[in-house]
């Protein structure tokens, strides 16, 4: 087992457990304000607030634990939905070709012309804040990665002997795509999905930081960072811990993605061994 895989998988597992069990793990209610205890420095193991409190006296640790939940929900939802949309459209586009392919590829081109964060900002600016809109805004850009790669693969798969043979046996297009094309696209989609999850977490945090993501009453790592900016010279812990969580989470997912890619792409591995 590669160390990359172990470290990456552990981080992702910890995040998942913390996210799922946050109501039981958090020492306090993340929204509870105790104004007399505002801006307390981290007390580590010696006091009531392990990682300190924010300007409204809310417990940082509890907010970070609840924030993991939002990151988790957004990341999984974005990866699953964009994966489903992208793989389906890519497979259809590559397998059928012709007019359908042309229309889907024009759509890809239009979305591709937007720098990644810009489309999300534009959509959120017009539709307003909210978890659903945030997921929609992130999916809007991410499905094209799957679509482009899967289309290329599907193009080469459709003329392969085993697909021809199935067609000769009288299988319908739907059956061929579902039973013979899609299973061959799982590996590559898995790799894209892992890296896409990492970028979804950063994007979610960025948008929440800009005040365009989830509503401010929901604690997320991005909004915690946005709140920290007013106290940057007096309360370093407000900015350090949420950011560290984003960084470690993304690092873990990227490690996992690297490990999966090495596992599935023996060509690259051979190169490394030289």
């Amino acid at each position: 087992m590669q160390p990359k895989f172990v470290v990456g998988a552990s981080i992702v597992c910890v995040l998942t457990v913390v996210g799922v069990l946050s109501p039981w793990l958090a020492p306090y209610d993340p929204g509870k304000q105790t104004l007399e205890a505002a801006l307390k420095a981290p007390q580590w193991f010696g006091g009531a607030n392990f990682l300190g409190t924010d300007s409204l006296g809310r417990d940082i640790l509890s907010r970070i634990i609840y924030g993991a939940r939002v990151s988790l929900v957004v990341a999984f939802a974005v990866v699953l939905i964009s994966g489903f949309v992208g793989v389906t459209l890519g497979a259809i586009s590559g397998y059928f070709g012709g007019k359908i392919d042309f229309i889907i590829q024009k759509l890809v081109e239009v979305v591709w012309a937007f720098p990644a964060l810009l489309l999300a900002i534009t959509i959120l600016a017009f539709l307003g804040q909210g978890l659903f809109n945030l997921i929609l805004a992130l999916v809007a850009q991410r499905w094209i990665q799957y679509c482009r790669v899967v289309r290329g693969q599907a193009l080469s798969l459709r003329d392969r002997d085993f697909v021809m043979a199935t067609r000769a046996l009288g299988a319908s297009n739907q059956r061929i795509i579902r039973r013979h094309i899609l299973p061959n696209l799982i590996q590559i989609s898995l790799v894209i999905g892992t890296f896409s999850m990492a970028s979804a977490i950063i994007s979610e945090a960025s948008l929440s930081f800009l005040g365009l993501g989830v509503p401010p009453e929901i604690p997320t790592w991005g909004t915690m960072l946005a709140d920290s900016r007013s106290y940057i010279s007096t309360a370093w812990w407000l900015a350090l811990f949420p950011g560290l969580c984003i960084f470690l989470t993304v690092l873990g997912i990227n490690l996992l993605g690297d490990a999966i890619r090495d596992l599935l792409d023996p060509r690259l591995k051979r190169t490394v061994k030289g």
């Binding site: 960025s206 900015a239 030289g274």
Partner: protein, 325 residues
């Protein structure tokens, strides 16, 4: 080349539809709540908001084609001028980020790729992973906290210290200070751009390093490299002449693609550092529902992104003589 135009047209349509699907009325937002119905009607008439949506759209596309992007509600000035005033700041910032990324990432990537599994490779690979996993706005905040707040080495935000630079001629502060031989202003501009450029460039460093490494690794197994070694060429010539010149194509592609990411990254980094560029302008436009400004900016970003990709395509033929269009 000709495929670009319909794509741009579709983009304007997409943005326009989104703008008008948005809840909230811009005239009310700009005038505030305490206005009579007559004031509102007058404002709507002046900004053309009382006309049917499709008329507004056709007007917009026609004027955009002649580079007239309308008037900004918020700044009460032509959008073109508002954007043009802010654009040099973003270009300066992006140029510095690319410079930092190229200077750090390519040598590191080549060193790592040339000696796989060595200590250089291990350091380089960790550095690359670190770079791609770093949220740039958090790095920005941490840099402000440490370098500006604790050590007072650099200013925490903005583009220049008031009173040091003379009146700007080009909008590019570096160019201005060199033209005016104002070395204090040059140093000042450099100190101001350092932190935002580092924060903005960190992801590019990571990606560029990883791509350089794997591209060098892959090229190193080619048969002509084996031949070059067998001929008895020194390792240095093999690396620079045979490996690196051929490994350059994917590296250039990534620099080009990352320019787009850099553009959108600048939106958030500019906000963190109060950098007066088009990125922070977009956020201002979005929060004040300045329709013409946001539409103009989105159009500018997409045109820039599409143009960069065209230029990269043209560069391939220059770098690799095997490619001809």
């Amino acid at each position: 080349m000709f495929g670009t135009l319909p794509v741009l047209l579709l983009i304007t349509l997409l943005v326009f539809v989104l703008l008008h699907a948005a809840p909230g009325d811009p005239a009310t937002m700009l005038l505030g709540q305490e206005n009579t119905a007559a004031d509102l009607a007058e404002a709507k008439r002046r900004w053309g908001l009382d006309q049917p949506v499709h008329v507004q759209y056709v007007k917009f596309v026609l004027s955009a084609a002649t580079a007239d992007l309308g008037r900004s509600f918020r700044f009460a000035a032509p959008v073109k001028e508002v954007i043009a005033e802010r654009l040099p700041a973003t270009i300066e910032l992006a140029a510095f980020s690319i410079l930092i990324a190229v200077v750090f990432a390519i040598p590191l990537g080549v060193a790592a790729g040339a000696r796989p599994n060595s200590w250089v490779d291990n350091i380089g690979t960790s550095f690359g992973l670190f770079g791609i996993s770093m949220p740039n706005f958090w790095l920005g905040i941490m840099l402000i906290l440490l370098l500006a707040g604790n050590f007072h080495l650099v200013p925490s935000g903005g583009r220049s210290t008031y009173g040091i630079a003379g009146p700007s001629q080009t909008g590019f502060y570096f160019l201005d200070s060199v033209m005016q031989r104002n070395w204090a202003a040059l140093k000042d501009a450099f100190l101001h751009v350092l932190m935002p450029a580092l924060a903005l460039g960190v992801n590019m460093i990571g990606i560029l390093m990883r791509v350089t490494r794997s591209s060098v690794l892959e090229t190193a197994t080619e048969e002509y490299v084996v031949t070059a070694r067998a001929k008895g060429l020194t390792e240095r010539i093999v690396l620079w002449r045979h490996i690196l010149s051929n490994a350059l194509i994917p590296i250039i592609t990534v620099v080009g693609l990352e320019l787009g990411t850099l553009l959108s990254g600048s939106i958030i980094v500019e906000t963190v550092f109060a950098w007066p560029g088009v990125g922070s302008l977009l956020i201002t436009g979005v929060t004040s529902r300045d329709y013409p400004l946001v539409t103009g900016l989105v159009l500018m970003y997409t045109v820039a992104f599409v143009t960069i990709n065209l230029i990269i395509d043209a560069l391939y033929a220059f770098i690799d003589p095997r490619i001809r269009y």
